[in-house]
Amino acid sequence: MLKIKDLKASIEEKEILRGINLEVKPGEVHAIMGPNGSGKSTLASVLAGREEYEVTGGAVDFMGSDLLELSAEERAREGIFLAFQYPIEIPGVTTTNFMKTALNQIREHRGLEKLDAVAFLKKMKEKMKLVEIDQSLLSRSLNEGFSGGEKKRNEIFQMAMLEPKLAILDETDSGLDIDALRIVANGVNALKSSDNATIVVTHYQRLLDYIVPDFVHVLYNGRIVKSGTKDLALELEEKGYDWIKAEANLETA
């Protein structure tokens, strides 16, 4: 589904991604871990199409198309979803209204008929149950005054509504208490299928107890320096990142 070849990207002349190679197949869950500043969020942003980042090299193939050629909204319409680390507030725009607009634009792109109010509400009710989110929350302005947990649940709710092919969760677990974490993880797991894939960007092993990855990659200094199974995550939890950094520095020396 996703083939990243030697991806390089900079922001304001500073090189952050220095040659990322990654392949994600349908049905898979990949975890991306790494110390602060390694480029995890940058990778997520670049894949989503954030224009502040300049791609300086490499290629990204998404379901047969050149992803880097597409604008952010085109990528979303093709099926890429980014659950933001810091979801932004949009006063005056309710989540309901926001979702209806987004969903219908995506459907239009896919040649599907727009959902009318009744069908849309039905879909909403269905997905609300998944993340235990309240109707009252959805009628408020998008993310305005939401707690950290509510914002993250709202992200997963949106993911449930938009049914992406590739979901990128950017530190979705940051700022969540145990219960919120459980709810979010359950939501993500419920949406998993053999046709879609998930990339989970995280610092901590904790989330990976709930969303079990097929592959774990460690990002350091803009490159994936180690890949393994979920056991790798456990090893990192135990030993920290120093040994990885040491190994990586040795290799480049």
Partner: protein, 481 residues
């Protein structure tokens, strides 16, 4: 991949949709302003002597006044002698029915989405169509007449209901109130007159649609609305003008009189030609609008969506004379490219237990400047006055300006006055969030702006709220940077 800069350049302001003009025969005054022109206008309109005298007196007063320079706007000196003060589309004198109206004129309004023809009218909305200085047609007059409601052009009202005009003309905006009111009083052309008798609730929206067509003319319309005891009316005015290189002056006066327990809702959707993106051309919109809540428990609400004109200068105001009277002002003022706006409101609390509410949402984009200027005045004997003001500014891009000049004058210590202000910017983060959900940039801006302006748009009569939303989106196309 296109950068924001490129997107901005590509999507330059959508062409002003109503920039076309029609070539129909017009009856015009020569350039210039002097006593003879004032007489010319009065003669053309077949006015009685008392009105001509009133005009001439206003002209004398205007000559003795100086153009005010205090607003936060810049524009080249207006040469008052280089304007034609009268232009009317030539057509048959007596309009018995719409069949008598020049089909080209009907077509003009069709193009604007306003149908004057019986079959296609907006149901529930009576329309008075004014092209340049002349009211072209008024729909539903008979239906309204049965209820005792008078809705006709100002010129017609002068002939058919002189006693009402004599009583109320200049009672809310005196001739010497300001420079432009004086000018308007001398050369006003036409406008709407609306009278709602005691206890009558007007069953439909009344609206006037103003269209400036001829070049080099000024438009000076005069509107007067009188609501007797316990009556209700909702009135809407819409305005557009063709795209021209020269600036055109629009100096209107609107007076509203609300008696005991009466309520008048006045909405404006203004889309005068704003000038091109370099600031060339465009309408100067200098308007005096004032309502007096004369009777106890009367209420006047002003709702405006201002998206056009090169320079906007207007302060729809309420004089809260009656006890328990209420004044409201809801505004969305958008400026883009090189537009400038200095707009706001005045709420003067005179009676006891009066209330006023101000919600002003300014949106600046491009290199424009948007100023809110508001005055809340509580007079000495105004016991228990309540005011809540909220002025918000939304900046789009890095080259525009938003300014706020609130004046609060309290002379009675039982007053409760609250003022809130926010300034925000449409962040790239917000736009990106929308885009990442599959919403394209234009739709994202429209979504965000509508959310911002919702509180004001909700005040508009339903039929026009949709148009206003579309207008907002159009005006701001390509303005995020």
């Amino acid at each position: 991949m296109r950068s924001d800069e490129q997107i901005l350049e590509e999507l330059t302001n959508k062409e002003y949709e109503h920039g076309w003009s029609v070539d129909f025969e017009a009856d015009e005054a020569p350039f210039g302003l002097n006593e003879d022109i004032v007489k010319f206008i009065s003669l053309k309109k077949d006015e009685p002597q008392w009105l001509l005298d009133w005009r001439l007196k206003a002209f004398e007063i205007w000559k003795g006044m100086k153009e005010p320079k205090w607003p936060n706007v810049k524009y080249p000196e207006i040469d008052y002698q280089n304007i034609k003060y009268y232009s009317a589309p030539k057509q048959k004198k007596n309009l018995e029915s719409l069949n008598d109206v020049d089909p080209e004129l009907i077509e003009t309004f069709e193009k604007l989405g306003i149908s004057l023809l019986e079959q296609k009218r907006l149901t529930g909305v009576a329309v008075d169509a004014v092209i340049d200085s002349v009211s072209v047609a008024t729909t539903f007059k008979d239906t309204l007449g049965e209820l005792g409601i008078i809705f006709c052009s100002f010129s017609e009202a002068v002939k058919e209901h002189p006693e009402l005009i004599k009583k109320y003309l200049g009672s809310v905006v005196p001739v010497n109130d300001n420079y432009y009111a004086a000018l308007n009083s001398a050369v006003f052309s036409d406008g709407s007159f609306c009278y709602i008798p005691k206890g009558v609730r007007c069953p439909m929206e009344l609206s006037t649609y103003f269209r400036i067509n001829a070049a080099n003319t000024g438009q000076f319309e005069r509107t007067l609305i009188v609501a007797e005891d316990s009556s209700y009316v909702s009135y809407l005015e819409g305005c557009t003008a063709p795209q021209r290189d020269e600036n055109q002056l629009h100096a209107a006066v609107v007076e509203i009189y609300a008696a005991k327990d009466a309520e008048v809702k006045y909405s404006t959707v203004q889309n005068w030609y704003p000038g091109d993106k370099n600031g060339k051309g465009g309408i100067y919109n200098f308007v005096t609008k004032r309502g007096i809540c004369f009777g106890d428990r009367s209420k006047i609400s002003w709702t405006q969506v201002e998206t056009g004109s090169a320079v906007t200068w207007k302060y729809p105001s309420c004089i809260l004379k009656g006890d328990y009277s209420v004044g409201e002002f809801y505004s969305v003022a958008v400026t883009n490219n090189m537009q400038q706006a200095d707009t706001g409101t005045k709420m003067i609390h005179i009676g006891k237990n009066t209330k006023s509410r101000i919600v002003s949402k300014g949106i600046s984009a491009g290199k424009s400047h948007n100023s809110y200027r508001g005055q809340v005045q509580v007079m000495k004997r105004a016991e228990n006055a309540r005011n809540h003001s909220q002025c918000d500014s939304l900046l789009m891009g890095n080259n525009c300006g938003a300014h706020t000049f609130p004046y609060i004058d309290i002379e009675n210590k039982t007053a409760h006055v609250e003022h809130e202000a926010t300034t925000s910017k449409i962040g790239e983060d917000q736009i990106f969030y929308c885009m990442q959900r599959g919403i394209d940039e234009e739709s994202a801006v429209a979504l965000i702006v509508n959310g911002y302006a919702k509180e004001v748009l909700n005040q508009l009569p339903m039929e026009f709220a949709v148009e206003a939303q579309k207008l907002l989106a159009l005006t701001l196309e390509g303005s995020v940077g």
